[in-house]
């Protein structure tokens, strides 16, 4: 709710840059060529059995998942945009 004019300009710039990084405006008319291909084969394992020591992934097997991930950063671009937009509504 406290977005200033300065903040708004920064936001605009940042968003435009962001978009340029991820999208290619000139390649937009590319026709979709992706089709559902044959299922990737799950190959037979080269060995029949192995011990637990053979299974460890390099980084270890704990804390694989992030469960609480709400983004409360009110200064990042998207949050600022939303605030600006709601401000226009007098919210």
């Amino acid at each position: 709710m406290s977005g200033s004019a300065q903040g708004s300009n920064d936001m605009k710039k940042a968003v435009v840059n962001d978009s340029k990084n991820t999208e290619q405006p000139l390649a937009l008319e590319k026709k979709p060529t992706t089709q559902l291909e044959e299922d990737d084969e799950f190959e037979d394992f080269p060995v029949e059995d192995w011990a637990e020591e053979e299974t460890q992934i390099p980084a270890g097997n704990t804390h694989l998942w992030e469960e609480s991930w709400d983004d409360d950063d009110t200064n990042e671009d998207f949050a600022v945009q939303l605030r600006e937009e709601l401000k226009k509504l007098g919210k």
Binding site: E23, K30, T34, H63, D70, L82, L86
Partner: protein, 566 residues
């Protein structure tokens, strides 16, 4: 192979070798004799090469007595097929089904043509059930296990290969019951499934099918056979036909953990994929995580296939991969695909989410998601998480928390609708950079109009039956307040928002926020999903046998087992 070359004819020599293998109880040796295919360099071992020539000239297909004569020869030489006694003098019944099988094997070699897949499929359709019958012998049948495995793999490969050449197989596709067409892979899987059932129902084992912590008797073959059936059905896209296999296993298998790692991991992969495709994402992640953690660290291609589905299931349930997963060498490229999705979910960035999952399939992540068959599940089932985050955000910015202790926290649904409409509209603009500059009606950058049809096009279609009627307007698919209420209602019902809708105030009344903060109104989605699933299944997963059942589980009654594809 040097099979007793002193014998005169090659048929006798090979049958003698079969007899020696059975006497020695050497199942692998038996399998190495009853070959189906030429080996490296497309040549059979000399004995087999000689056998094929001899069969063609001495036992030709045109001779009506050929099979009868072969049968007599086999009975005479493979004495292990006759009635006998075991070491303790108990009678052992004859093994006539092995004789029939060996006749079938020889005629297969005589008649087959490696360039004619249709012929090979037809011959295998006859030979595989003969091998299954030989497996059924109560004590000696187990010697057939490696052979059946080997045959089933060849059979499945031929069936899947032919399935991709429909012009060759029109005449082979039969009408199954109720007019359904049974594809060749299903036909092959159904025949192989009989061997799986024989293994599952072996009564000649220690109680529960476990001896010294290992599967006993033919029960050792359960997961080997199941995995071949599953692989065949998956390659033919017949996932629905896998259910009877999982039900049978739940009813009659010894626990999975006593089987070798390769069988466990392969089985859990297919089981996870099956539950994923049935939208049982919670069950899917349970089994896939065990498969992933148990997979050999050097088997990257297998671990990658498991990981894709595991990550997708977790995303849908509201858990995001950490660096540990992204750093797995098997997870190469995951970061580029999954981080934009998790970012969109975190922020409630509906526009980005729509761009990633747009059905025009233009986003760079689409190839990956389509290849691994997670595009539609993610597009369909992660949407609610994006909605939740967006509403949470709008609430954090513009929600009104009343003064008094008991005052409600209100979120104006009109404001929420405005934001949803803006982001949905921006997602329609193909050029993301221009969309970012779109300030909404009155402040709109019109540049995209000249090159972008979809963003400005509004439907004018009215069904001819309704043309000219009062009050009928074309639907332009824009969201309205009612739809906003539906979205909120859906999130409330699923437990993702702790609130109710006040239609008189056009507001979402969020509970618990005043005293306990945002988390009370917007609980952690993973916790919500976990609790819901724990109530329903308590971590029990169809097809995943963790403990031995009472006295080895129930007996599978074949008459109730519907064929795959039914």
């Amino acid at each position: 192979m040097a099979f007793l070359r002193s014998q005169n004819d090659v048929e006798t020599r090979l049958c003698t070798a079969v007899n020696v293998a059975i006497q020695a109880g050497d199942a692998d040796q038996l399998q190495s004799i009853v070959l189906l295919e030429p080996g490296i360099g497309n040549v059979f071992p000399p004995d087999h090469q000689e056998l094929i020539g001899s069969l063609q000239s001495n036992y030709p297909a045109t001779d009506d007595d050929a099979e009868q004569r072969l049968e007599e020869l086999i009975k005479r030489v493979v004495t292990e097929t006759a009635d006998s006694e075991d070491e303790e003098g108990r009678p052992v019944q004859s093994w006539g089904s092995l004789v029939t099988f060996l006749v079938g094997w020889m005629t297969f070699l005589r008649d087959m043509d490696t360039n004619n897949l249709v012929l090979i499929f037809e011959l295998m359709t006859d030979l595989q059930p003969r091998a299954n019958s030989a497996l059924q012998h109560p004590t000696k049948g187990i010697l057939m296990l490696p052979t059946i495995m080997y045959y089933a793999k060849v059979f499945a490969r031929v069936a899947v290969g032919l399935d991709k050449k429909p012009h060759l197989i029109q005449h082979l596709i039969t009408e199954a019951e109720e007019g359904q067409r049974e594809s060749l892979p299903e036909k092959a899987a159904n025949i192989v499934r009989q061997a799986f059932i024989i293994c599952l129902n072996d009564r000649n084992t220690a109680p529960g099918g476990v001896r010294d912590g290992k599967p006993d008797g033919k029960k050792a073959g359960i997961y080997k056979m199941a995995n071949i059936c599953l692989k065949t059905l998956f390659q033919a896209d017949k996932l629905g036909s896998c259910e009877t296999i999982f039900t049978n296993i739940t009813n009659s298998s010894p626990p999975l953990h006593i089987y070798p790692a390769a069988e466990r991991t392969t089985f859990l992969y297919y089981l996870g994929r099956y539950h994923f495709s049935n939208t049982n994402f919670y069950a899917a992640q349970l089994v896939l995580e065990v498969a992933w953690l148990g997979c050999h660290k050097q088997c990257l291609s297998q671990r990658r296939l498991i990981a894709v589905c595991l990550v997708a299931a977790n995303l849908i349930l509201g858990r995001f991969p950490t660096e540990k997963i992204y750093k797995d060498p098997a997870a190469e490229g995951f970061r580029e695909v999954f981080v934009p999705i998790t970012q969109a979910i975190r922020k409630g960035d509906l526009e980005s989410f729509r761009r990633i999952t747009n059905l025009n399939l233009t986003h760079p992540s689409v190839d990956f998601m389509m290849r691994y068959r997670i595009f539609y599940p993610i597009g369909n089932y992660c949407e609610v998480l994006v909605w939740r985050s967006l509403i949470r955000r709008v609430f954090a910015i513009s929600g009104v928390v009343g003064e008094g202790d008991k005052a409600a926290a209100l979120l104006d649904l009109n404001a929420t609708l405005h934001v949803f409409r803006l982001l949905e509209a921006r997602a329609q603009i193909k050029n993301a950079a221009m969309a970012a500059q779109d300030g909404g009606p009155g402040r709109r950058n019109m540049g995209h109009i000249f090159q972008d049809h979809a963003s400005t096009n509004k439907s004018t279609y009215i069904d001819p039956d309704f043309v000219g009627m009062d009050g009928v307007e074309p639907s332009n698919l824009e969201m309205d307040l009612l739809e906003m209420e539906c979205i909120c209602g859906s999130l409330i019902t699923q437990g993702f928002i702790n609130a109710h809708i006040s239609q008189s105030r056009s507001a979402l009344v969020v509970q618990g926020v005043k005293k306990q903060g945002l988390a009370a109104g917007f609980p952690v989605p993973w916790e919500v999903n976990k609790e819901k699933n724990m109530e329903n299944c308590n971590d029990e997963v169809l097809g995943w046998k963790k403990e031995a059942g009472v006295e080895g589980g129930k007996v599978v009654r074949l008459q109730f087992a519907a064929p795959a594809g039914s």
